[in-house]
């Protein structure tokens, strides 16, 4: 054989080697980020020194010196800045939880309503979505607040639900829960009941899958959830009292007061987010193939059974991921409460920034808290999503 052995291919010059290139790029990127970061930090430190602002998180222990109009825990101006952050955080959490519950209810109703056979209801729900989705949330919040302040009655003419819940210009008044001696056991019984109910539901499902016999699951769960705390409540001698609001001559006394700002924020956030949830729900239901519903009716299931056993479980798979991001959006949008004067985390952070001038630390804490909220919500939703996701066999 005269043919010479194939020559090994010439190695490309090192700057054409993809691996070398990618290492060079990454080193350059790190260098660039570090240089820019160092430049910015250097400037910031110089500027802060020039302005005479101290750095570090020591300010969190100093007394805050300002009051907050709605507090869920003990707080006044002698408490620390750190405590003020906590108050703001709890206020944000309260708005987020109330808003998410309300938005989900309205959103599902409107979303299902848009698919209604009833022309009038479908039109009404479409109008709702098309109007609310296309107006900025900030404008809606300010509008709701303005409207609320101008239409709410004076305390003497409160809107009342059975002498327990009052709504007037000073806000929404609900009974306050006052724990007496021995209340710990009662409060402990609630999570225990939830765990028991969950264990029971699990056991009942496994039993049904093994034996085919089903128990009246919903009723027994309800019995555990209500019965156990009720029994504890009676057995420990009624350790919890409700303090009701009384409408006095000038302003309402007692009870738990939620400001009109809170009401406006929750209403504004939930009607806005509901318009998005409605669209998510609608597309989720529409994503269910017609064949599924036809097959279910061919099996002889009733309309309500089709909805409960066939449509909803499949639709939830489509609904849950975008629903998560709407919940997150609502939580993040609750920071707009600052525009109507609700003391949420962002608004408290703004006040603290004005008092201390330590913008960098205040922004870092605020952003970290919102990030944490986001991570917790998405972690929970991912868990839920994985639970209901299609099991591919």
């Amino acid at each position: 054989m005269a043919q010479s052995a194939p020559r090994p291919p010439a190695r490309p010059p090192f700057w054409n080697d993809p691996l070398v290139r990618s290492i060079i790029y990454q080193v350059l990127a790190i260098g660039l980020v570090c240089a820019v970061g160092w430049y910015l930090i250097h400037n910031t430190i110089t500027n802060l020194q020039r302005l005479g602002v101290s750095t570090g998180f020591g300010f969190l222990d100093r007394p805050s010196g300002f009051d907050i109009s709605q507090v869920l825990i003990d707080y006044n101006s002698t408490y620390s800045f750190g405590r003020a952050f906590l108050v703001g955080l709890l206020n944000t959490a309260l708005v987020a939880v109330c808003g998410i519950v309300l938005a989900t209810i309205i959103g599902f109703l409107v979303g299902i309503g848009r698919l209604s056979r009833n022309w009038l209801i479908a039109r009404l729900c479409t109008t709702y979505v098309e109007i609310l989705r296309n107006i900025p949330i900030l404008l809606q919040l300010i509008f709701v607040y303005t409207l609320l302040v101008s239409v709410l009655p004076a305390p003497r003419e409160s809107l009342a639900i059975g002498e327990t819940v009052f709504l007037n210009t000073s806000g929404l008044f609900v009974p306050r829960v006052i724990p007496l001696a021995g209340a710990g056991l009662f409060f402990l019984s609630i999570p225990i009941a939830v765990v028991l109910a969950w264990l029971f539901a699990r056991w009942a499902r496994i039993r049904r899958e093994l034996t085919g016999q089903s128990l009246p699951r919903n009723w027994i769960t309800l019995l555990i959830l209500v019965g156990l705390p009720l029994l504890t409540f009676l057995a420990t001698g009624r350790p919890v009292e409700l303090e009701y609001t009384t409408i006095g001559r000038f302003r309402p006394q007692g009870g738990f007061a939620l400001q009109p700002e809170f009401v406006a924020l929750v209403v504004g956030l939930s009607i806005y987010t509901a318009s998005y949830i409605a669209e998510i729900v609608r597309s989720g239901i529409l994503a269910i193939g017609k064949g599924q519903i036809e097959a279910a009716s061919a099996l002889g299931l009733e309309r309500s059974q089709i909805l409960r056993l066939v449509v909803v479980p499949q639709a939830l798979r489509v609904i849950v991921p975008p629903l998560t991001s709407q919940y997150l959006n609502l939580t993040k949008n609750s920071s707009l409460g600052v525009a109507v004067g609700y003391p949420d985390l962002f608004s408290v952070a703004g006040t603290i920034n004005n008092q201390t001038g330590q913008a960098v630390e205040v922004i870092a804490i605020t952003m970290a808290v919102y990030l944490l909220f986001s991570l917790i919500t998405s972690a929970f939703m991912n868990w839920y999503n994985a639970r209901i996701a299609l099991v591919e066999r």
């Binding site: 790029y25 107006i135 900025p136 404008l139 509008f143 409207l147 920071s335 600052v338 962002f346 920034n353």
Partner: protein
């Protein structure tokens, strides 16, 4: 055998039963199909009767639009006089009235500069678009800010109204696409460090509210630069909005990139295209086309989010509305002003969302079964 089957005498066609066509049938099918439907229909009609007439009375029949002060208005109906008198402010903000022609000129220039993008025979659209993106901000600052050749200087803190809302949206939209494309490509990169940097930036920005990003831009940006540098409020807002919308755009575009089959990437490599060639010529044109509806939806979100700059002390459409509400001469006319501002936002967002729906139908990229 001869068959003489008598010709079939057809009876005249009967009209369909009255209950299956025509308005009556429509009513029955759509409003009174079942007893439950009937009850619901009646409830909705009662609700509408309760809500709509007072609304119409307030907004139209008892409303006032004549006159020039709030004294002509009654509290039975809306007072559109405030909108009539302050219309200029709602559109141009505090921009000096004698210089408003400059804003109009700029609007005409923007529209004219977009026209070539729709000309079928223009080949170098990308190049042209990039050129516009570079030239336009310079032209805009020359015309709008002035201060040269006899043009009166108008500080950016006087800019406002719908004009400012549109300006911020345009800048945000224009900036978000390149930032978003770069971040999305970085997130899909094989280089772990580049990927980590992009993921961190995207997730942090998307995990916090826009208002904190704007707050950071307004409080911390001045600290980032050497003493003596000053950045006006509008620029700070524009930087904050651009970063924020870029991060959201990145996730939309990443969706498109992920939807492109692997074969396309491999084919591009096999053709010997470089990374940027294969992205620019093969992958991105397909990926962006796939996510056009998502991009338009991001634009809508961005347009609505511009209203948050009022918290930084800028007077966009909503900020101007708030200013009018606070002015003593129009005390108590807040609802009318907010309704007008809301209508302004609504028109733009609704138009964009209809456009996006039309595109979605045209491109068939929605979830169809």
């Amino acid at each position: 055998m001869a068959t003489d089957i008598a010709p079939h005498a057809t009876a005249a066609e009967l009209p369909p039963p009255r209950t299956s066509v025509g308005p009556l049938a429509w009513l029955k099918q759509n409003l009174f199909a079942t007893p439950k439907d009937t009850v619901l229909t009646i409830l909705v009609v009662l609700f509408l009767l309760w809500v709509v007439p007072p609304l119409l009375r307030w907004a139209i029949f008892d409303a006032t639009i004549s006159g020039t002060t709030r004294d002509v208005c009654t509290f039975d109906g809306a007072c559109w006089t405030v909108i009539k008198m302050r219309f200029g402010q709602l559109i141009y903000g505090l921009y000096p009235p004698e210089a408003r022609w400059r804003v109009n000129l700029m609007a005409v220039l923007v529209v004219l500069s977009l026209v070539p993008l729709f000309l079928p025979w223009l080949k170098q659209k990308l190049l042209y678009g990039a050129g516009v993106l570079i030239v336009m901000p310079i032209v805009a600052s020359l015309i709008l800010e002035g201060g040269w050749g006899g043009l009166q200087q108008v500080e950016t803190n006087l800019w406002g109204g719908l004009f400012l809302t549109l300006l911020i949206s345009f800048v945000g939209i224009a900036a978000s696409l390149p930032i978003g494309i770069l971040l999305a490509l970085g997130r899909r990169s094989n280089m772990p460090i580049i990927k980590a940097l992009c993921v961190t930036l995207i997730e942090i920005v998307r995990g916090v509210p826009l208002i904190t990003v704007l707050f950071m831009a307004s409080v911390m940006l001045p600290l980032f630069f050497p003493p003596g540098w000053s950045i006006d409020k509008l620029t700070r807002a524009l930087i904050g909005v651009s970063i924020f919308s870029g991060a959201y755009m990145a996730e939309v575009i990443r969706g498109g990139l992920q939807a492109i089959p692997k074969g396309q990437y491999e084919a591009a490599n096999a053709m010997g295209l470089s990374y940027w060639q294969s992205m620019g010529l093969i992958i991105l044109p397909q990926a962006l086309r796939l996510v056009i509806p998502g991009i338009v939806n991001t634009f809508i979100g961005l347009f609505k989010d511009t209203s948050l700059v009022l918290i930084m002390g800028l007077y966009d459409l909503l900020g101007i509305a708030r200013m009018i509400v606070a002015s003593p001469e129009w005390l108590g006319r807040s609802i009318e002003t907010y309704v007008a501002a809301g209508f302004g936002f609504w028109i733009f967002c609704y138009a964009m969302s209809r456009y996006s729906q039309r595109l979605e139908r045209k491109l068939h990229t929605g979830h169809k079964h």
